[in-house]
């Protein structure tokens, strides 16, 4: 196996591998189908990726902090159902803050278990995935939730409206990405997230309040989930109990595809956004090429695994390594 050097072309590949893969991938699909890079298609993809993207922003903090969050899918279902139900009972102006408060409470609970009680985040959030799903079904009585008067409310603005021609979901995704990107890269809190995920013990020895930092990453994640739930509810004005089911894995895939390490301590918001877009464009590209729906799952995940492998290979400097 030839050793790759860290300088020159390979060095650039190692640092920007995913971004370059993204460009190559876009060019390839564009050649295969002109429609792929049409402005309305590109906007369409970003728009339909926005909900997943908003969730991925929060999970990025959790993952950099050295933990996992598998509860975001079912938590998003919860937010969606709750805000739809409360909309008709309290009106949108009260329903939205109430839903945010309840979702943040769930995030705080998870953050308490993982941060302060130091329980394993995989177990806690896997458990919460089911528990929150149960909570959602209890709330709704298992029925679909619909807004009664769909035309008489401004609630649809977050999912269907637009400002200066740009759809709201895209604006919210971009705005939140910008704010959280700056929080992660430029504030003391962001720095502490990297330190806690990179080496929790060393962070403690440096006076970083590890438990509080982890707790806060889960609060942030819950805030993003609530925002995603709002976007989802606002777009469809009605929902099943399972609307977010399975999204936790897609979110995680986007974060990892962006290049965050599952072990914590590395990743950026920008990379996560790239990961989200890659995922969205793969699915869209395959659709345009005319691949059968079921086969798309197989191809999508094959591409994801391939991309992660190449990314790791570029970092290691070789395609295969006897040690991890």
């Amino acid at each position: 196996m030839a050793e790759l050097t860290k300088s020159g072309v390979a060095g650039v590949l190692a640092r920007q591998g995913i971004l370059i893969a993204f460009v190559i991938f876009m060019v390839g699909f564009a050649i295969a189908n002109q429609r792929f890079i049409a402005v309305d298609n590109v906007f369409g993809v970003i728009r339909s990726s926005a909900i997943l993207g908003v969730m991925a922003l929060g999970v990025t903090f959790v993952v950099i902090g050295g933990n996992l969050d598998l509860s975001v899918g079912s938590m998003m279902s919860f937010s969606t159902i709750v805000v739809l139900d409360l909309h008709d009972k309290l009106g949108p102006a009260l329903a939205i803050p109430a839903m945010f408060a309840l979702t943040l409470l769930l995030g705080a609970f998870i953050g308490f278990l993982v941060g302060y009680l130091k329980l394993n985040s995989l177990i806690v959030t896997l458990g919460m995935l089911s528990a929150i799903h149960g909570l959602t079904l209890t709330w709704s009585g298992g029925k679909n939730m619909d807004i009664a008067d769909k035309s008489g409310t401004w609630f649809g603005f977050f999912g269907q409206g637009s400002v200066m021609g740009i759809p709201m979901p895209i604006l919210m995704f971009a705005g939140l990405a910008a704010v959280l990107g700056i929080v992660l890269a430029r504030t003391p809190f962001g720095r502490k997230v990297y330190a806690v995920g990179g080496n929790g013990t060393a962070a403690t020895f440096s006076g970083v309040p590890r438990a509080r930092v982890v707790f806060t990453t889960y609060l942030l994640s819950a805030f993003c989930v609530a925002t995603a739930g709002l976007m989802q509810a606002s777009r469809s004005m009605g929902s099943q109990n399972t609307v977010g089911q399975g999204m936790e894995l897609e979110v995680l895939a986007a974060v990892i595809l962006g290049g965050a390490s599952l072990l914590g301590g590395s990743g950026t918001i920008f990379k996560t956004v790239i990961g989200v877009l890659i995922l969205g464009f793969i699915q869209n590209g395959l659709l345009l090429v005319g691949l059968e729906f079921y086969v798309q799952y197989v191809v999508t995940w094959t591409i994801i695994i391939l991309a992660v492998w190449l990314d790791i290979a570029a970092k290691r400097g070789r395609l295969w390594s006897p040690i991890a």
Partner: protein, 518 residues
Amino acid sequence: MTDQTPALRLEGIVKTFPGVRALDDVSFAVMPGEVHALMGENGAGKSTLMKVLGGIHQPDEGRIFIDEEATVMTSPIQAKARGVVFIHQELSLADELSVAENIFLGELPRKTLGRVDWAALYARTDDILGKLNVGFNARTRVGELSIANQQMVEIARALTVDPRAVIFDEPTASLTDAEKVVLFDVIADLKARGVGIVYISHRMEEIFKITDRISVLRDGQYRGTLNTSETDEDEVTQLMIGRSLDLSRNHAHAELGEVAIEVRGLSCGKVYRDISFSVRRGEVVGFYGLVGAGRTEIAETIFGLRDPDAGAIYLDGKEVRIASPIDAIRHGISLVPEDRKGQGLVLGMNCRDNMTLPQVDDMTSSVFVSERAELSIFDHYKDKLDIRTPGWRQTVGNLSGGNQQKIVIGKWLSMNPKLLIVDEPTRGIDVGSKAEIHNLIRDLATQGYAVIVISSEMPEVLHLADRVVAMHQGRIVREFTAEEVTEDSLIQAISGIGGNGAAQADVTAQDAGCSRPH
């Protein structure tokens, strides 16, 4: 041994990495039955040379000979098959498996249908263990063994083949003195059987005790080979760093100021009992004792990482309660911890961010971290401590041990502490950096810092401390001034010989009675 052919010979090895000539025409040979030390500062190329020998790196030029037969190494497994075996400083054993399974991992003897032949496995293992004269058997679970015995398992693993050369990489880093004796016996035994031994270590005492010849690398270049019996530490040091060091004892007392910290009657379960001492400004107090005597645990308590059951800590005469490192930092206490990589640094983070981590909250203009404020701190300590790094963006994990330690020291100095505690400040660090760190600690005292130095190396304690506190099994047995302390008296004190009979209490550090909650 002179008229034999070398067991292992490297000829003209060149290995370059982008921007670095890591090995520049390095040659050296190990004769059968010889213990050959390989020395050099961190970054001199020892690790790279060993990686070339183990087939992890392919050399750009040069050849490797085993028994004068040219060999191409492609992997550590293949190197072992050729009779070149590595005993690493960091052990790679499976704790949950038995000694026998660890030794024959990957090559367990089989019966039909792929079933493990346990009888043969245990018999062959006990056979090998017999040669090593160890106090455990083939069925012992590795996780139950001490570090020293785990190292014996690694050595036993080496003996499953008939080795021509065994490379020991810092084998004594985590061994007690008694355990070292056992290790040296094993090395002597291998030597008697005609095995060539490469011994990598920074510890001069050991080098002069057990090696026959010493080869020195500096900046990737071979600097020569000396016969151990015909040289001394000064000559070796000079070859390694290109200048000589002044390692004389330093008794230039600083002007002593007020008492910075006083500890009264501090106890922590069975870990330590009834600890009382004080440190003045401008004073270096050394804590000396065996591993497990409770020194690190006292430092952890003062730094808020461990709650004491009894006793009090006074800073500037006022009693303080320190419940977390955050409290300790607020009170002006800094701790350079014992485990540089585990506790001192976030290895994946860059140099600057590591250094400013404890005060990142104060590095802000409005709500954002100010790069300028951070860089001014980093640049200041980079110059002051002579930290060698390509730039602040460099990932700390890529620096040499000495430079890593300087980042940790810079991190804590930049907090302007009233009290600086340094725990094993030069562990695993080459002689050049070691002397620099020693000078730095003395300078700090002169500037009026109160300093506590915890060390397991007697020369270090003798060299640095104005006063030495000797500990044995969780108790302070004696305090010496720099004038009255001698090596003998210190050894007696810390081994519990003579001195204070109270030390014989049921205090053992193993069964911790008070927890480390953080």
